[in-house]
Symmetry: C2
Subunit: 453 residues, 2 copies
């Protein structure tokens, strides 16, 4: 690629700008370790997040630092990487630069790995009452709401209101929804009953709603069946073929017209739709219905061989299977390595973009955990479940966590949690005040013996 | 004590209301384990916090869950304790009840252990620019500000503004101030220099300001001297006999009139004055200048033998030494055990309050840590410092942490941190956006080679 000399006379090194330090973006930058280029890695946060374990923050099993590593630390020894904390607001393909508010950063190559965010099918007003789970702040907010629900139920005098506070609806039965529902049921039924005096937390209802006719629709029917049965055995209410049509404070509406139904629920957690990061819209490329960029077989934007889109933001097709690359960590990592390799090769050899290889996705299997020592696996061409699947799940997740320290700590947490069924991160933080609306009448001395007995 | 029968005919059990689940309040409730009474333990948060290690959250060494335990978990097996999440707004001694907003809770005995909060000597407007360190939310906010300062400095083009962003002022050289200053200097000089490409974090200035003529004024002169020397060796600027007279955004004013001086500082941390929780004002008892309740030798409010005040909220005098009981964890714990014992005894035996013993404080020694493997100790009638003092400090703090799980994790964290000088919890969380005001001109392609080199 032709790079003009720097005004100082010193030739400028080609610059690769990577937007997003998730599984995809990190892999691109790592793959450029030996390449003669400058890598600018931009992210809205200062940490690389191991998103598959985010539900464990939301359910108080792990602390944020256990599953997040400062991006700068990852690239501490890779001196051609510069990390910038900032939010990319626009891509200007014609001027070959990105904008972060008023600041512009030019690129020779651009890799967009900005990921996806939760989407409410056009009902953004649902978000306030049904938070999604994409960032650490999301997870801490859900943790706060879940723990507060039990605290509020403890003080609630009215039986109906108490029942509503102890009703949790999880919308969407993908891996996150299934894992959330299972963990919530474990909290209510096993972790905290002995902690409360007035309320019986084992009566908490966890309702998992899914539009499809099975849970974990992306996994094998055997795994769906097994996960469904395991959730039911734990006491989770699973409602399939169920469409949420409205969410208000403490209320979920299901179905329409004659089938309309209302569920009083103090907490709703959104684990359903996602859509591509809005920054993709400025690319002037074709997007699919979920806001993802339709990329060519080389993961580049058609007509722009210097712009790649990878990970959850890409609508890509695997070259060999001709199937869509799924929006999972594996897909992002493989695309990231592929694109990093393509750029490194073209930088070194000057090979023309026309001669690029095509990306093929290799499915290494899927795993989802349902609760303590239970999981389902589709791997090595077969499906299995139970303790061994869970052990495999634990092993895979720990191995993939970046950073040696985190691995040890997460293992200690898990081992401890598994042994005593505790959840050590049960902290209500954040400055919001308790939302107890109808607290129990703690009343006057003479009639108090019963009220607080 | 005379307790009227419950309207239902069943005799009501005497009720002890404890406000605050810090070191003092927890000990009161634990001491009433075998007593035939109901204990209502009210706290604004759901966790008991090991406050002496809070600075380690603020400096990214530990996660909140490492030093906090859900209060309910502490009393899981003590069935006469009921935990209520709520904020006590008023005490009504005449009606023997406390108010939490519109809710009243009656008591037979009341123990106020609501602690202290940071005070700005009547300059509440300083708080916004100089946060204190009393709660987990405080610590996370300080962590966010400190880490953001380096991120902003990395993008700052103007040398003067960059220098200001890398200037941290810690006001107050008690244990918290000394520990904060030492940890900040370690972060800047050892933990993160390799993570940044443009800014040299080792140039960060940490200025510790103290009004007295020595650091750690509550410790022995030998320890003060040693801590001062250790801080200086680390590169902390220690300014004694220095009075802060104004704080604005990014600006600290020192002295008055001819001695007036201004320090540009991107971050100011307040570790100076504290004052008693405002709830004490409703007691109609005598307060000292720091808003603490002057209690009798039995830790009770004069004229109200059924109301005790303990911990940081009490201005108490030790019966044997006739010296003031210091506002430290030991003092709160000893008062809590004493008061719990008094109540248990009077409940069981009906002994009159006139025959109560007097509280004597036993100083078990003081420890303060200055940095990695450095500490000072005043203990066993002598002063010493260095690695052994630090080992003792670590041991004491780990032993006192409530909850076995936390101890293991904290030890792993510390061992790891000590070995590799990492700080694992370096996460910027919280929804506030970066406050970069004059970001570097990331500019156009042609003049970019240098700007980001």
């Amino acid at each position: 690629m032709d790079t003009p000399p720097h005004p100082s006379g010193r030739p400028r090194r080609p610059r690769v700008v990577v937007v997003g330090a998730g599984f995809g973006g990190i892999r691109v930058a790592l793959a450029l370790d030996d390449a003669d280029c400058d890598v600018i890695l931009v992210d809205r946060t200062n940490h690389h997040l191991f998103q598959p374990l985010l539900y464990q923050i939301a359910t108080a099993a792990l602390s944020p630092a256990d599953i997040a590593t400062p991006i700068r630390t990852v690239f501490r020894h890779q001196k051609n990487v510069q990390v910038i904390l900032g939010e990319v607001t626009e891509v200007q393909p014609g001027r070959k630069r990105i904008l972060m508010g008023n600041d512009a950063v030019a690129y020779d190559w651009l890799v967009l790995a900005a990921g996806a965010t939760h989407a409410y099918f056009g009902n953004d007003q649902w978000e306030e009452h049904a938070p999604g789970l994409k960032t650490i702040d999301d997870a801490l907010e859900i943790r706060r709401r879940v723990l507060m629900a039990f605290e509020e139920a403890e003080l609630e005098a009215d039986p109906e209101a108490r029942r509503a506070k102890l009703t949790f609806v999880v919308v969407g039965a993908g891996p996150t929804g299934v894992e959330m529902a299972g963990a919530l049921r474990e909290i209510a039924a096993q972790t905290i009953p002995a902690d409360f005096r007035r309320v019986d937390t084992t009566t908490a209802r966890i309702i998992l709603m899914e539009g499809a006719d099975r849970v974990l629709p992306a996994m094998s029917p055997e795994s769906s069946e097994e996960a469904w049965a395991a959730l039911r055995r734990m006491g989770v209410e699973v409602r399939l073929n169920t469409f949420v049509t409205g969410i208000e404070e403490h209320l979920v509406k299901v179905g329409e017209g004659d089938d309309e139904e209302y569920v009083d629920a103090g907490n709703v957690i959104w684990a359903a739709g996602v859509e591509g990061s809005p920054v993709a819209r400025s690319l002037e490329a074709e997007l699919d219905s979920a806001g993802r960029v339709k990329v060519g077989p080389d993961c580049a934007v058609p007509g722009h061989p210097e712009i790649f889109v990878i990970g959850d933001l890409a609508a890509a097709t695997s070259a060999d299977s001709e199937e869509a690359v799924p929006g999972v960590a594996q897909g992002a990592m493989q695309m990231g390595e592929f694109v990093g390799g393509v750029i490194a090769r073209e930088l070194t050899t000057g090979i023309e973009p026309e001669l690029r290889p095509e990306f093929s996705y290799r499915d290494k299997g899927s795993l989802a955990t349902i609760g303590r020592a239970r999981a389902v696996a589709d791997i090595w061409g077969t499906s299995f479940h139970g303790f061994f699947a869970w052990l495999l799940w634990s092993l895979v997740h720990v191995l993939f966590l970046i950073g040696f320290r985190n691995k040890i700590l997460v293992m200690v947490h898990w081992a401890w949690q598994w042994l005593v069924q505790a959840r050590g991160a049960r902290l209500i933080t954040g400055r919001k005040l308790p939302r107890v609306k109808r607290p129990v009448d703690l009343g006057r001395l003479e009639d108090e013996g019963d009220a607080l007995a």
